[in-house]
Symmetry: C2
Subunit: 407 residues, 2 copies
């Protein structure tokens, strides 16, 4: 558990560099927040870190942190730090992908120094079963529909819907969740007191009342462009998996998805028409990154849920009476005329099966009421058989067996 001093020091440090800095974060891990702050104030901090913090060191960081906490309290915002009961354990995983793979990363992805939250829920508890639903701001009606539906049904199943409160997919996912008796968490790139984007002001207010607004930046902070990229890693880390509903070829949502997958979380995309520019990002992620295709909230839960507990049913058509027939019986049935009775020998010849199996099949078909015996042979039964209509005579049966490639 953090002391108040440690909490204040973390807030102060968070004001000195943009979030995600490994340089700052790793040192705080080793030395503790109070010690790092003291070193910076006293001029004993490592030169690189001191240089990075210098431009914002001109006013007293501790005083500014105290101001921020006071402002936050007035806004109904509280600050969380590691060790708090509300601190989500999943955030710690961000250390693992922070420059972990040696590739040139554009920014660090170190866990937040602290989080500002506003709303009635406990953040850790809300994220115990959480799915991120993200996507394009310029969503199509299809994307908006799917995001609303997914948000609603995930929340309805007791899962928290995490997103970024942007226009388009994000807002639709939050709205869907709010319409269900479930929770939703919006992770912002500005202060939790800011109504950004302005058109979502009412939505943000509702989330603050029923869910949670979360931010790494103190109240009053501006949504600078680069902050959205920094913010995305928090969305990815808070949820057990990230679903991208729609995304253009260039999209911030793809970054969130990629970070989720680098974190070992489930990376999922919703397919869409190949003619839609807003589904290109989803299809590319499926093809290039092996993001999992999900077509329903149930399939999402199958990816993130515990095995067995949330197993989606494979979409299947209703079996028809004909499905219960074996291949020979169906072949024999094809050889039966609706109008003219045919002798068994002729039926066998037309069907191309031997006499004995033809007779056996006729027995099965007769019992099922599909054929009747008349003087002169067999003929189709009197019952109306929709799927025997001429227009559908050519319809082959589905084959539900997986192929199991033979090479």
């Amino acid at each position: 558990v953090s002391t108040d001093d440690q909490r204040l020091a973390r807030v102060a440090l968070s004001l000195l560099v943009e979030p995600g800095s490994r340089m700052m974060g790793a040192l705080v891990d080793r030395a503790g927040p109070g010690e790092v702050l003291a070193a910076l104030v006293d001029g004993h901090a490592p030169a690189a870190l001191a240089a990075q913090c210098a431009p914002r060191m001109r006013t007293d960081p501790l005083a500014r942190a105290a101001d921020a906490l006071q402002l936050g309290a007035r806004m109904g915002a509280r600050v969380l730090v590691p060790g708090d009961e509300e601190w989500p354990a999943g955030l710690d995983d961000l250390r693992r992908i922070s420059r972990a793979d040696g590739e040139r990363v554009e920014r660090d992805t170190w866990p937040p120094l602290c989080l500002w939250v506003r709303g009635p829920l406990g953040l850790a508890a809300a994220c115990e079963r959480a799915v991120a639903v993200v996507g394009a701001r310029a969503a199509t009606p299809y994307g908006g529909h799917v995001a609303t539906e997914f948000g609603h049904r995930l929340a309805d199943r007791g899962w928290t819907v995490v997103s970024g409160a942007a226009y388009g997919v994000d807002a639709a996912a939050h709205r869907g969740a709010l319409a269900a008796p479930g929770a939703t968490v919006a992770v912002l790139a500005c202060g939790v007191d800011r109504a950004y984007p302005a058109g979502n002001a009412a939505l943000l207010e509702r989330i603050a009342e029923e869910g949670l607004l979360v931010s790494e930046w103190p109240p009053g902070s501006e949504p600078h462009r680069h902050r959205f990229l920094i913010r995305n890693r928090v969305i990815a880390a808070l949820a057990a998996g990230t679903v991208m509903v729609e995304a253009a070829a260039r999209s911030g949502a793809r970054q969130t998805l990629g970070q989720a997958m680098r974190l070992g979380r489930a990376g999922m995309v919703v397919p869409g028409p190949v003619t839609s520019a807003m589904s290109v990002g989803c299809h590319v992620a499926a093809r290039q990154w092996d993001a999992r295709l999900v077509c329903s909230p149930e399939e999402v839960l199958e990816e993130v849920g515990r095995i067995g507990e949330d197993l989606a049913a494979v979409p299947q058509a209703q079996p028809t009476r004909l499905d219960r027939l074996d291949a020979t019986s169906r072949q024999v049935l094809d050889a039966i005329s609706a109008r003219t009775p045919r002798p068994v020998e002729e039926v066998a010849a037309v069907a191309g099966v031997a006499l004995r199996p033809a007779l056996a099949a006729l027995g099965v078909l007769e019992e099922a009421g599909l054929v009747v015996r008349r003087p002169g042979g067999y003929q189709l039964g009197p019952r109306p058989r929709r799927d025997r209509a001429p227009a559908r005579a050519a319809l082959p049966r589905g084959d539900a067996r997986p192929p199991g490639a033979v090479t």
Copy 2:
């Protein structure tokens, strides 16, 4: 090369059992078609095979075969048998999946005993570079559009489009191919002289004139329901890969796709809206069978084409001026005001970067014309910058790097 006797014997045998029979096919492989026919006529054939053929043995098979050839010749149809130059080698692969995996198969998938073809192309040559495009009869306008587009552009790239001439996806794929200077092959479940389905009569006539109609059944044969399932394996075997454009949960196209994958061919599906029942089969095949998602004809060719020769470009947005900036420069740019010049120290503080990199970034930004130096500091450059407009200030940049999961 087959002798005329062998050709005639194969046609005769093909009249005695429905195609695909391993019992018949394996014996013909071992003993030769003439010998098997003689054994059946003389009553020395294995009892199981004799029983299967008995119902159709009542009239002389050789005489009926000669009639079929004569009728075929009148219709402009020729018969192909293994050993003919026109015989596609890919058909032999069907032996490998004929009850190969020991699972309960519904029907045998042995290679055809012979093929009836009608049209100006050589079948083997046409199938050297061939893709099957299959799908739902009840295609949506989306499916029809995609099938036409794929058919056209595959044919335009010199690939033969193989399909089944059914309504919906099949017909659209053939039509697309016919509109391009490429070839198309229709594999039928009835005689190559039959206009089935009736609504595609004109299409079938055009394929007979410019492409190829192919069937395992002699001219005059009826399109019995079970024959579509038998036929599907030929579509799968003739092509280097099968693309399923649209398919309901229950669909014959899925059988074709499954057989293609069991043959070791490329199995591909086109995604669609998750709200469309006609895309369910595609999505299930992608999820359950690992059929490859394809969004363009170029991606199809990447699956079936030779490596390097047909590599599809990953869809990407055009890079903007901002893309060329590194993370620090973009962070610094975010801290520059459009109206008020800011001193370097203030820019660095707002951006949260050290003074030296801030200065370096400002140099880069100034050179790019994105910022200008004024008395009192830096301010945004005079050029119109669409992507700096307030409404888009929140747009994060795309992240094109694959994630490479860290666990």
